[in-house]
Every structure is written in C-alpha cells, then in structure tokens.
C-alpha cells in the first residue's frame, strides 16, 4: 500500500488523515467501542461439563434464565419453565439466579477495566461491559492482540466471553451477542455490512417493537435499511429509529464511564531530610491533620493507613496501620502510627512523606441521644483494640464466642474483638480446659454411672471424696464417622485435698461401641 502511495505524484498523495485507521487520533470519539459479554454465571469451580441451569423469577413464573452448554445439548433452553426443565433432565443442577450478585461482579469487572484497560469503561447491563478503546488499543499491542488477551483473561477468571470491536457501541453490542464468532473486529467503515445480516433483535429494541417488526416482515437489519424513515417510524415507533441511528453512528451514544474514586492521599516534602523519631512524629501529626480534613470533606473514616517515606538515597520506607472501626480521630491515629516509628529506617534522612488511606468506609454523625440522656453506655473497645493490635498483631486480640456444640473443646471460637458474643448454657464448666485430655491411670469406679473412687494422674494418686455426674455428651455424628456412636460421660469430682477436677469416661459403660471405658481428665474447676 505504501508503495502505491509513493508511486503517486506528490500532489495526488493522500493526506495522513485520509489514510484512515492509521491516524487514530482523528477518529470520532465514540467510534471504537468494544463490548465483552461474560456469559453468565460460569464461575470458577463450576464444571462446564455438568448440565446446569439457573432459575429466576420472570413475572410470576419460575423459568430458566441461563443454561450451561451441556444442558443446552440436552434440550434445556432459556425461557423454559423450571418445572419443565426438571422434568426433562432429572439430575439437572438447578440453581437460583442472583441478579444482585451478578451486578456486583460486573461492577467489579468494570472497575478492573477502568484500572487496567481503558479510562472509559462502563457496565452494559445485564451481562456486558463497554470499553472505549479510542487511543488505548496501541497500549495493549493493537486491537487484535488486545482482544486475544481479553479472552484469555476471561477464560482464566472462569468466564466465557465474546468480544466485538466496532465503530459504534450499538454495533459492538449487537455483534457480541448475535454475531457468528466469539471475536469480531469490524474494520472502520464496514459498520453497515457487519450489521446488515443480524436479526432485528440485535438493535436493543423493546419486546412490542420486535413483535411489530415480525408482523411487517422485517427479519434482519438489512430489511430495515432501504425502508424510508417516515413509514418505518410510523410502524415501529421512534425509539427503534433512534436505536438504528445509534448503531449506524448517525446519533452519538456517549458512554458514562465507571468512576474509580481516588484514595485519600496527602503529601509533605521537606526542605531538609530528617532522621529523628521526634521529627518523624511531627510530620506524622501534620500529615494526619491534612488527611482528616480530606476524609471529613468526603464523609469517610479510615480503616487502614499507609505511610510511605522517601529516603535521600531513593529507597522507600513503608509502615501501615489498621483500625477496627472507621476513624478520623487524628490523636488516635497518631498514637497508632507512632507505634510504628521504630520500624522506619531513616538511613541518611527522609525527605518526602506520603500518607494514603487505602481502605476507607463511610463515617457519618453518631447518635448521642443515649449519652446525653445519661443512660448506661457500653464503652467502645475499638480504640483499645487498635492500640493493642498495633503492638502485637491483629490476630492476638480476640473475644471468645459460643458455638452451638456440646463437645467442650468445640464450644468456643475466636471472633473479632469488637463483636459482642452471646453466652453458654448453664452447665458446670471448668475454668481451665486442657487442649488435649490427659489419660488417668488405675481408676477405680463402679459401672455404669458412678464417679471414680480413686485415680492416678501425673504420678500422684488422688482419693475422690465426692462426685457429680454423669453429664453425657454424645459425639457429633455429622462431623466424623468415628463419632457416630461415641459417648463421653463427664464427672465433676473432688479429691481429699480439695482439688476439683473434670474427668470423663469414654463409653456409657453398657455398650462397647460407645467407647473403650478409658478415663481422661479434661479440665480443672476452682
């Protein structure tokens, strides 16, 4: 092509602008649009080989809204009644539709697209994404390679995707859903030819309009094109004309991009490099004062803060803190940050500081009605938790919450320190519980349900003077096969020296399947 151009006389050579696609900057801003359609709900972990269908409520009817390829081969199709599908294929994996979760996932994908592929990206509900590739395609190695990468990414993420690139959003939308191939790239100016063979439904028309079009014998877009606009508008309505014009590029269809809110960030550059702890603390205080203003303006509270300090030699020092509740209390945040000063290595000096809040949550006004009325209030432990967690780590601070289980060692679990757990049933429980029950030796006890009379534990013989029990605890058969018949009979016993122990016997003393009648000590009462 270049040779042909060069062969022409100079005055006859076309200007750069007329060479079309090679000057991308001259393109219409809404020309180069790609649409990806993540085919619905094929999450990772779901095998595509199994026949599976998603059932949703359409009107008052339960019907299939999405099917897997395997189910499609078995004759299940979208729009079929759920009961019909179940009758056709008895082992069909039917799952309820989650439109909200789908929308959230799509939102996250759009955010990813904004961050990685194109600054103008938006959700095309219910199942697509718009990406405006104008001026971005060359960053990803051209349109073809970009589409390949996009398809590969979607496959890795567990989606089956269809990609179309065209001059207008309408055509891209139509080709991604009704086109013959998974990947369609329409060269510039070929819009009409690409659109013509598609069915009328590809134009994003209303259901009533589609019925009207069928009545008038319009099957494909090609049938619509030669018809005069006036009669067409009278038959199909003005919105249909508008959609057609949007697809052909006669009417602009701007994309409202998905916004990626910037993280609150403040920065200080110092005249002289600093290195002392006091000076760093001062900078932290100044930065926090600035950041609190930023957060206040946006109505946010910080859940995490990151302080990045730039050293004179170009190295970066980073410290991070987290809070258990959103906060913009400068004094509190400063105290947490100061705990981290010792982890900053100033080297030859630090000359630039940046404080970022990577994780923020909305923080509005607090209702103080109860406090003003002087009613009893629970002091909020969040501040204390932050201070302690800042020193020894988040996982070392916890509360203990009940679990609905009668097996003692399973009745507790650790939860977040700002949760408010409930209580346990009022069975007598020891204050110290061994992680593993310890075996008792030379136990003398009457079967089936008397506490032991004497036992040996850790090399000492104990003579029992009183005992309560048994408290029978059955194994949890739904957890393990070994526990189906297992029984523990717990006794609270007191020895002659006043020690009170919690011992148990495996087995109920009657049936051998319940345990081997061995004795164990599990805890100590006060």
């Amino acid at each position: 092509m270049q040779q042909q151009i060069d062969a022409l006389p100079r005055h006859a050579q076309p200007a750069m602008r007329e060479l079309g696609r090679r000057s991308e900057a001259a393109d219409h801003p809404f020309k180069r649009i790609a649409t990806i359609v993540p085919a619905q709900r094929y999450r990772t972990g779901v095998s595509h080989q199994e026949p599976m269908a998603v059932v949703g409520k359409v009107g008052r009817r339960e019907q299939v809204v999405a099917v897997s390829p395997a189910a499609l081969m078995l004759g299940i199709h979208i729009g079929m009644a759920a009961t019909h599908a179940r009758a056709l294929v008895s082992d069909l994996d039917l799952r309820p539709a989650e439109p909200e979760a789908d929308a959230q996932l799509l939102d996250r994908l759009a955010l990813l697209a904004v961050r990685r592929w194109s600054p103008i990206a938006a959700v095309a509900p219910p199942d697509g994404l718009w990406l405006d590739l104008t001026g971005c395609a060359h960053l990803h190695g051209g349109e073809g390679r970009f589409c390949q990468r996009l398809l590969r990414f979607c496959r890795r993420a567990g989606f089956t995707a269809r990609v179309a690139i065209a001059d207008t959003p309408g055509v891209a939308h139509a080709l991604a859903r009704f086109g013959p191939d998974d990947l369609t790239i329409v060269t510039s100016g070929d819009t009409v030819r690409a659109l013509a063979p598609l069915p009328v439904a590809a134009l994003r028309l209303e259901q009533a309009t589609l019925i009207a079009a069928r009545r008038f014998g319009f099957e494909t877009v090609a049938d619509l094109l030669p018809v005069a606009r006036g009669p067409l508008a009278r038959r199909l309505g003005l919105p249909a004309i508008h959609r057609l014009d949007q697809a052909l590029g006669a009417v602009a269809e701007p994309i409202t991009p998905h916004s990626d809110p910037a993280m609150p960030m403040v920065e200080r550059r110092l005249l002289e490099p600093i290195g002392t702890a006091e000076a760093i603390g001062q900078v932290m205080a100044d930065l926090l004062d600035d950041l609190v203003l930023v957060l206040q303006a946006r109505g946010l509270g910080a859940r995490a803060l990151r302080l990045v300090a730039l050293r004179v030699d170009g190295g970066e020092q980073m410290v991070a803190i987290g809070t258990s509740r959103p906060s913009r209390d400068a004094a509190h945040l400063l105290r947490l940050l100061k705990l981290r000063i010792e982890r900053i290595d100033p080297g030859l000096g630090l000359e630039q500081f940046r404080l970022v809040a990577p994780h923020t949550e909305p923080l509005g006004a607090v209702d103080l009605g109860q406090v003003l009325a002087g009613e009893a209030l629970m002091r909020d432990p969040a501040r204390l938790v932050d201070v302690v967690a800042g020193r020894i780590g988040e996982e070392a601070v916890y509360r203990i919450a009940p679990v609905a289980s009668h097996v003692p060692e399973r009745a507790v679990r650790r939860v977040s320190p700002i949760a408010v757990p409930g209580g346990w049933p009022k069975w007598q429980r020891p204050v110290r519980l061994f992680a593993k029950p310890e075996p008792l030796w030379s136990v003398m006890a009457l079967l089936p349900d008397q506490p032991p009379r004497r036992f040996e534990w850790r090399g000492r013989t104990h003579k029992v003077v009183a005992g309560d029990g048994p408290e029978r605890i059955h194994g949890e058969w739904w957890r393990r096969d070994q526990e189906v018949w297992a029984v523990r009979d717990y006794f609270r016993i007191e020895d002659a020296d006043g020690g009170r122990y919690w011992v148990f016997r495996r087995g109920d003393g009657v049936d051998n399947a319940t345990g081997d009648l061995s004795w164990w000590i599990h805890g100590i009462f006060a």
Binding site: R379, R391, A396, P402, V431, L433, A526
Partner: protein, 210 residues
C-alpha cells in the same frame, strides 16, 4: 480493694487446682467491677487454656472480656501498660511469669494515674519457688489455694471453698481465712459455720474482697 493499684495473686502451690482457684478469684473481682462500670475487661495471657464458659460462670460473660495473647512476657507488659493508659477497660488482668521490680513499679504508677486496677496472676517460674517471695511494688499480694468443700447432704460436690491468704498489703495486716468460691455474680462468701466464729476477720475480708 483499692481501685488504682497493682494487685498480685498467686497460687499457693504448683498444683493446677490452686492455679484454677486463683484464676477464678481474679475473674470474680473483675466480674463485679465489670458489672458496676459496664466496661470490658482485658485479659492478657500467653497461655490459651482458659475456658471461657467456666469464666462466664464466675460472672464474667464472654461479651465483657477481650482476650489478648502476646508472644512473651515482655510484649505482655507493654500491652497492659498501653491498655491502662488507654483507660477503656475497667480491669486489666495479666498472667505473668516474670516481672521485674522496675516493671512492677511502672505498672503501679500507671495504674494509680489511670485509677484502674491491674490484677496480676503470678505464675511459677520453678516448681518449688513461691512467686510472692520476690520483692514487688504491688499494693496487695494474695495467695489462693483450693480447700475441701463442705459436705452436702446428697452425694455430690458442694460449693467450692478456697483458702484465701492476704500475704501482704500496704498499710494493713496480713490475714488468712477460708472463703466460699465465686457464685455466678463473682461474689465470695464466708462459710456459714465460721460466720459466727470470726466476726472481726469477716469484716476485713468483706472490705478486702468486695
């Protein structure tokens, strides 16, 4: 018991039963304090054999305890000092094995400043060595042992009894007596039989333990 002060409690012997009694003695004091103020209790320990349902039966429900499990005693002392200076908890409980005189003084000062009691459960470093032999800045030092319970009419275990010994207190005399263990609100009681006998001692004990 004085609020803004450091108190030490230790088991009378190396037996686990005495340790359990000392633990519950502390839990009972904290339970009364938590009930009165509505603030959480901070329980710092390097061990993890504390059984929360048992502690809840001494009047300290799970909702009012925040557990902290540091790696060693050094981190533990730093954490409880932070917590005392923060002032949110109503009682700070710490199970420590080794605490120097200086660290004890520090805690005592912090505690007096914040008007917030610190209860130290002293664990034994060696089997035969009483932790209360070491010098300390604590306001009171208690030694707890479990004692045989009074026999009940039916076959069974009676209400637990403890041998409570106040080994040392500032501005007061040491004493020793047998008390009944915590009930579900964390209160101790004087056994019915000795209630008539030692009226004077009871008065001191009530003030000391309440």
């Amino acid at each position: 018991m004085r609020a803004g002060a450091l108190h030490e409690v230790s088991a009378a012997s190396c037996a686990l039963v005495d340790d359990a009694a000392a633990t519950l003695f502390i839990a009972g004091i904290a339970a009364r304090e938590a009930l009165a103020t509505g603030a959480p209790v901070l329980w710092a320990s390097c061990r993890n054999d504390l059984y929360a349902p048992g502690v809840a039966q001494a009047g300290l429900p799970a909702a009012s305890v925040i557990h902290v499990q540091p790696r060693d005693d050094k981190a533990l002392l730093a954490v409880i000092e932070d917590a005392v200076r923060d002032g949110t908890p109503c009682v700070v409980i710490a199970e420590v094995r080794r605490i120097s005189m200086v660290a004890g003084r520090r805690l005592q000062l912090a505690s007096a400043e914040a008007d917030l009691p610190i209860l130290l459960l002293r664990q034994r470093r060696q089997r035969e060595r009483d932790p209360l032999e070491e010098p300390s800045a604590a306001w009171t030092r208690w030694r707890i042992a479990s004692a045989p319970s009074l026999p009940v009419e039916a076959a069974g275990v009676g209400r637990p009894q403890w041998q409570v010994e106040l080994a040392r207190q500032r501005g007061g005399e040491p004493f020793s007596l047998i008390l009944e263990g915590c009930d579900e609100t964390g209160r101790l009681a004087v056994p019915a039989a000795s209630a008539d006998r030692a009226v004077a001692a009871v008065g001191t004990a009530r003030q000391a333990a309440a």
